[in-house]
């Protein structure tokens, strides 16, 4: 079901504030209407009520929807502060004095809301300075001004100042000047902070705060001419007053709109659930999530538990971003990690929104994850098959080269030597004999080369005697002492024997080349339907399957048999190559 924006139900505690706000408004209107001379017009009173009640109403809604966010409370307080400031019209001394005391408090509220929206927190030093300066103006300076006499320039017949302790008109006038000067600076500072916030905001956050910041910026922009007008004895009459009031009336409306947009985003999670309830076309889940969270930059990374890495929907490897540029929310299902949403850090203001979107999409994400896993496997398979084909091709080329450059050339040279011996045979038997010796030595070398070549293609002893014997032969020829621990009661299948043999052989080559090791231990076991092959050296470590075609080729070979190859090679602490291959 799509959640409705209206009616909005309020918790009882907040509901009690509604009659309080109504009473405060009516009281303020009564005070205004009862002002002794030049009372505000009916329209002015209406605008004032609009401003105050707008703040309280929108504040209550915000408070209800986002109890963890201070914004709603501040909006409600600002509404009440607005009504309190209308007490300056009172004729009763205590109320009048209270009105004077709280005259500008609402501006503190508006300022705080502006610099802290939408998460209700102050992030930068500049933001904190703005709020601190506002507190100084409406708090200590206002109190000091009252204590030292109100120094009212209007020269009205005002009620008694019940908290006055001294009458120092010069001091209180100076305080007013300081307040107004600071107020102008504060307004400029707020605009600067707001502009900076806007510039740094991501698209989705801009969407939420745009209306608020625009109206707020307009309001504060109007406060500057208003203040200057006041300082310069009102050369513009009172039209800046009217403008500021109207602008202020739009601020809570703007907050409401901002709030509405957040509400819509939450509604979109419900839309998402509805959408996911229907058939989700492959590849559209990401778009649906991006829509629901209003973050076009959102990316979904699927977790492959086996491979211990993230991939995108196409199965391509994905690295999760680190740092503050992007935020990451993990999605779990039945306790297992299935995906991660990589999103705009602005959404981190609403973690529960992201989490609920993730949870809503849980099943669909799991489906997509399975597909991504399949694609990743296919991709791995394709890549490894390609590498195997390439390796076989390279191997054939190497054999051809060895045969052509080595054995074949040697045989040709032997044929020539024999021809020479033949032609010398009668004339110079001694020379002929030495040529024959030469030919025989050359033949021995050719035989040796051929033997090595054929052994390299497939060691006969592997077929004849099995892995144990073949590894033992390997140990005889190794350049390092090899400790063999082969625990096989019967022979492994041919292809596994071959893989294990070449794994050890390749590992030994690698160790001789790079490891600077003093000993190697080779362990081969068969346990629980798995053939386990492990080669450990005590060398320098730092080996990596991603680099060096040797280890990569081994991994492919093991992979092709449905097994897994793991390389542990901490720098300075030797290398362990460990393979597990299923064998029934």
């Amino acid at each position: 079901m799509r959640p409705r924006l209206w009616p909005i139900t309020l918790a009882p505690a907040r509901l009690a504030l509604v009659p309080a706000a109504l009473a405060a408004g009516i009281g303020a209107a009564a005070v205004m209407a009862g002002a002794p001379d030049e009372p505000p017009s009916g329209a002015e009173i209406a605008v004032s009520l609009l401003v105050g009640w707008s703040f309280v109403a929108s504040g209550l809604v915000a408070w209800e929807r986002r109890p963890d966010n201070v914004t709603g409370k501040v909006m409600v307080a600002t509404g009440f502060a607005w009504f309190a400031h209308e007490l300056v019209w009172a004729t009763e001394p205590v109320l009048w004095t209270l009105g004077q005391l709280l005259e500008s408090t609402y501006l503190l509220g508006v300022g705080f809301l502006l610099v802290s929206f939408p998460d209700g927190r102050l992030h930068t030093a500049a933001e904190r300075w703005v709020v601190a300066t506002a507190v100084l103006i409406v708090g200590p300076l206002q109190i000091a001004w009252l204590l030292l006499g109100y120094g009212d320039a209007r020269g009205c017949a005002c009620p008694d100042n019940v908290v006055q302790v001294a009458d120092v008109p010069a001091a209180s006038e100076a305080i007013v000047l300081v307040q107004q000067a600071l107020g102008a600076v504060l307004a400029a500072g707020t605009i600067a902070v707001v502009a900076l916030r806007w510039r740094r905001a991501s698209p989705s956050r801009r969407l939420a705060i745009a209306p608020v910041l625009v109206t707020g910026a307009v309001l504060f922009a109007l406060i500057i001419p208003w203040t200057l007008n006041d300082l310069l004895d009102e050369p513009l009459d009172d039209w800046p007053d009217v403008a500021v009031q109207l602008a202020l009336a739009t601020v809570p409306v703007a907050f409401l709109i901002g709030l509405l947009r957040t509400r819509l985003a939450r509604g979109a999670v419900a839309d998402l659930m509805v959408e996911l309830g229907e058939e989700v076309a492959p590849g559209t889940l990401h778009a649906a999530l991006a829509r629901a969270l209003r973050d076009p930059s959102l990316k979904v990374a699927y977790w492959l538990a086996d491979a211990e890495r993230f991939v995108d929907a196409e199965g391509r490897p994905v690295t999760l971003p680190e740092g503050s540029e992007r935020a990451v929310t993990e999605v779990r299902r039945e306790g297992r990690r299935i995906a991660a949403l990589v999103h705009d850090p602005a959404l981190a203001d609403e973690p529960e929104l992201v989490a609920s979107a993730g949870a809503a999409a849980g099943l669909a994400l799991e489906n997509e994850r399975l597909q991504a896993e399949l694609r990743a496997r296919l991709e791995d398979l394709r890549a490894s098959r390609e590498r195997i084909v390439e390796a076989a091709e390279a191997e054939r080329k190497r054999i051809e080269r060895d045969l052509h450059d080595g054995t074949q050339q040697r045989l040709v040279s032997i044929a020539m030597t024999l021809g020479l011996a033949d032609s010398r045979f009668d004339r110079d038997p001694a020379r002929a004999r030495s040529l024959l010796d030469e030919a025989r030595a050359s033949l021995s070398a050719a035989l040796r080369e051929l033997r090595e070549l054929s052994h390299g293609i497939h060691p006969g002893i592997l077929t004849e005697r099995g892995l144990d014997a073949a590894l033992k032969e390997l140990a005889y020829g190794a350049r390092l002492p090899l400790e063999l621990d082969v625990g096989l009661s019967k022979r492994l299948p041919d292809r596994i024997e071959a893989a294990a043999y070449f794994m050890v052989s390749e590992a030994l080559t690698n160790i001789a080349k790079h490891a600077d090791a003093s000993a190697v231990r080779v362990r081969v076991q068969r346990t629980d339907g798995l053939a386990v092959v492990e080669i450990a050296d005590d060398g320098v470590g730092g080996a990596d399957t991603a680099h060096g075609s040797g280890l990569r080729g081994l991994a492919d070979r093991v992979d092709a048999l449905g097994g897994r190859l793991r390389v542990e090679s901490p720098p300075g602490r030797g290398t362990v190559v460990h393979a597990e291959i299923p064998c029934a």
Partner: protein
């Protein structure tokens, strides 16, 4: 001296026969596989059977199996196994069959008629023959920790190698052009340094030395 050849390659079989003929051996039979060989040995009772290790039908180790059967049925027939590869493990398997009148030789050696003829004669005489390349692998293989072979002098290592090849003291003396007495001294030193139990018996000596080289 009467010999029988077994090799599935006609080219090699005929070539070998020609060489042996040249060296004045009497080639009384030529077999293509293990079964033929056994039949021929049974008929002719040769002094030596020269057997290719790899023959039909499995092309793996028929030669070794045939050697085992021959030794069981006709213990006085010498056996010289030819192999394409110098494999210590096959040599050990063969020596398990027996050390008397047994030889393991790399096929390449046939290019040197002298070496081939010498090997056949030593086997016929009841000696053991182990190809130098196998011995080379055993002597030269890397060892964990301190290599006891480092204790030996250059000459002692030579003597050790020749002992492992199955040569008698006299043969070693001839090869190194020293007196038999000097060879005996070297042998005593080698056995002492490597703590191999001394043995007057040449066959036991071969086994002891090889076992040491394989395990140390």
């Amino acid at each position: 001296m009467r010999v029988i050849l077994a090799d599935d390659s006609m080219l090699l079989r005929e070539g070998l026969a020609r060489l042996l003929d040249e060296a004045e051996f009497d080639v009384v039979g030529r077999a293509r596989d293990g079964d033929e060989l056994l039949a021929l040995v049974s008929t002719h009772r040769p002094d030596v059977a020269i057997v290719d290790i790899r023959m039909p039908p499995t092309h793996t180790d028929e030669g070794l199996r045939a050697a085992r059967t021959i030794r069981e049925r006709w213990p006085d027939v010498g056996i010289l196994v030819l192999s394409q590869f110098a494999r210590p493990s096959y040599a050990f398997e063969l020596l398990e069959v027996g050390t008397e009148g047994i030889g393991y030789m790399l096929k390449d050696r046939v290019s040197d008629l002298e070496t081939l003829a010498d090997g056949v004669r030593r086997v016929a005489a009841g000696g053991s023959v182990l190809d130098p390349s196998v011995v080379g692998q055993l002597v030269g293989r890397p060892r964990r920790g301190r290599d006891p072979l480092d204790e030996l002098t250059e000459r002692e290592r030579e003597v050790l190698g020749l002992m492992a090849e199955g040569r008698t003291n006299r043969a070693i003396a001839e090869q190194l052009v020293i007196t038999e007495h000097t060879v005996e001294k070297h042998v005593t030193n080698v056995m002492g340094k490597l703590q191999i139990p001394a043995s007057a018996d040449d066959h036991r000596r071969v086994l002891a030395v090889l076992t040491f080289l394989d395990s140390a």
